[in-house]
């Protein structure tokens, strides 16, 4: 179980998170929704160790992990699939997947996971020897997800997995996120597509300017008037 208690983070002197608390239980899919700049990505970066909190506690299965470097966080089973896909453009698809398994020592396990990824994402197999930068946006997102899974995490954090994708691909990405959860992994997802995120998740947190302002099940947030007005009002979603 992952628990954030009163976590504050700043970029220089600008506060980015002001006392955020949230928790993620075994097997849950949690969404973080909110406007740009609300602190959603910052929350993920703080959990994965890219940012160090000024104050507050982060525990993973009861062990404090705040301030540990990303390598140690990953070792403990938390993978971060960053915003904007961030595949290594000049590495091949296969090398990108190998980077995902960098900390693992079990050669046979890595090979069988690689086969499983190729089976799940046949496009990646077709393009295994190709530089990742030459893939389409949708293929790059599949690669970024597969790369995160190659570390065999217990928790995957997806930052805006549907950003910039065509509607049919958006649907596909959310289907994959759901599959990941069905495999028993915990998922923490940041999404601008609030309707899709709320329909998919068990529970959600709504963030505004560095604070969690509301939380509840996906259905509760979907039904609440202010969420509807602010994030769902009048917008047509494909997913």
């Amino acid at each position: 179980m992952l628990r954030l208690e009163n976590v504050s983070v700043a970029y220089g002197r600008v506060a980015a998170l002001k006392g955020v608390s949230l928790e993620l239980r075994e097997g849950e899919l949690i969404s973080l929704i909110g406007a740009n700049g609300a602190g959603k990505s910052t929350t993920l970066k703080t959990i994965s160790g890219l940012l160090k909190p000024l104050s507050g506690r982060i525990t993973w299965d009861g062990e404090p992990i705040a301030g540990l470097p990303p390598r140690e966080i990953l070792r403990r089973g938390i993978a971060h699939c960053p915003e904007g896909r961030r595949v290594f453009p000049h590495l091949t698809v296969r090398e990108n997947l190998a980077m995902g398994a960098l900390l693992r020592q079990d050669g046979a396990g890595i090979a069988s996971d690689l086969d499983a990824m190729y089976h799940r994402f046949p496009r990646l197999k077709e393009r295994a020897g190709q530089a990742a930068g030459t893939l389409s946006g949708g293929e790059q997102q599949m690669l970024a997800i597969a790369r995160a899974l190659m570390s065999r995490p217990r928790l995957v954090m997806f930052d805006e997995p549907s950003l910039g994708l065509a509607p049919n691909l958006v649907e596909q990405v959310f289907r994959i996120v759901e599959e990941v959860r069905l495999q028993g992994l915990m998922v923490l997802m940041v999404e601008q597509n609030a309707l899709a995120a709320l329909s998919l998740c068990d529970r959600a947190y709504l963030m505004e300017t560095g604070c969690v302002v509301r939380s509840g099940t996906g259905a509760e947030l979907l039904d609440s008037g202010d969420v509807r007005d602010a994030y769902l009002g009048g917008r047509a979603f494909a997913a």
Binding site: L50, P70, R71, F88, A98, M99, G100, L102, G133, S151
Partner: protein, 290 residues
């Protein structure tokens, strides 16, 4: 024609060591975004270490070259740990000034330790050239070419075929995401700087028996290393190899057919030309690394 063949051979031999210099510098820039002004001094350091080990300590020639390269690698690691690591969050101007300062210190240390008189590293190779038809070449120079090419291939295999190499290239492309994969970016920086320095020291140690070793030799070599890297495109590894050989050929052919006096100038003329016509470098690849 015969003369041209001879220059081609000489240019290839020179180009191999220039390529070693170039990939070291371009790798350091690519991974760390550090403009390494100490590069020429590491070359001089390698040459002096080879001289000290062979001429003063009377160690085996081949062993001395290996040790000189390893000492250069260690010096590079020390510079990274003591100077660059504390400046990791500093702006580029501070880092550049620190590197210029380090270059001055290294150069004056050479002067102090070895004196101003040029030295030659004694080599066990015969002084009579091998003759292949119209071309003659000193055995020592063939040895230099062989080792340069072996180091280039070895380095390429390291980058392409090992996990460490893939991690290094990933860091080159996106350090933050590489850290999310578990890469210790700080150690990759140290390793990169050490390997780049080791390659420069190897080039110096290899050419120490061919050319004279003098305390200020690092100045011109440092400039040439930048020239090679700019020719190939900054941060472009295959480009640095091509730039190294291009510079070797231009110097050799220019020196042979036009004027020996202006030999070093031809290389810089080439750079001015390339910058005017193709500022992105000779090899503007879609792919910047590997």
């Amino acid at each position: 024609m015969q003369q041209a063949l001879q220059h081609l051979v000489n240019g290839t031999i020179l180009g191999g060591t220039y390529a070693l210099l170039g990939i070291g510098l371009t790798l350091i820039f690519g991974v760390m975004r550090v403009v390494n002004f100490t590069h020429g001094e590491l070359y001089a350091f390698g040459a002096y270490m080879a001289y000290g080990l062979v001429a003063l300590l009377r160690l085996d020639f081949y062993l001395s070259l290996l040790l000189a390269t390893l000492l250069g690698t260690a010096l590079g690691a020390a510079i990274e740990l003591l100077l660059l690591r504390p400046l990791r969050r500093a702006d580029i101007d501070s880092v550049m000034l620190a590197m210029i300062g380090a270059a001055l210190v290294l150069q004056n240390a050479n002067m102090w330790a070895w004196g101003g008189v040029a030295k030659l590293v004694p080599s066990p190779f015969a002084g009579t050239p091998l003759v292949f038809g119209p071309v003659s070449v000193m055995p020592l120079r063939l040895f230099v070419l062989g080792i340069s090419c072996a180091l280039l291939v070895g380095f390429w295999l390291l980058l392409e075929r090992t996990r460490a190499g893939i991690a290094m290239r990933a860091t080159f492309q996106d350090a933050e995401t590489a850290s999310l994969m578990g890469v210790r970016v700080g150690w990759v920086s140290t390793a990169t700087f050490a390997i780049g320095s080791g390659l420069a020291a190897a080039a110096g140690a290899l050419l120490g028996p061919v050319f004279m070793v003098s305390p200020t030799m690092g100045d011109l070599v440092g400039l040439k290393a930048f020239a090679i890297v700019i020719l190939g495109g900054l941060g472009n590894l295959p480009g640095a190899v091509i730039g190294g050989f291009a510079l070797g050929y231009v110097e050799e052919f220019g020196g042979g057919f036009l004027s020996t006096e202006y030999r070093d100038a031809f290389g810089f003329l080439l750079i001015i030309l390339v910058l005017a016509v193709r500022p992105q470098g000779l090899v503007a690849l879609k792919e910047r690394v590997g």
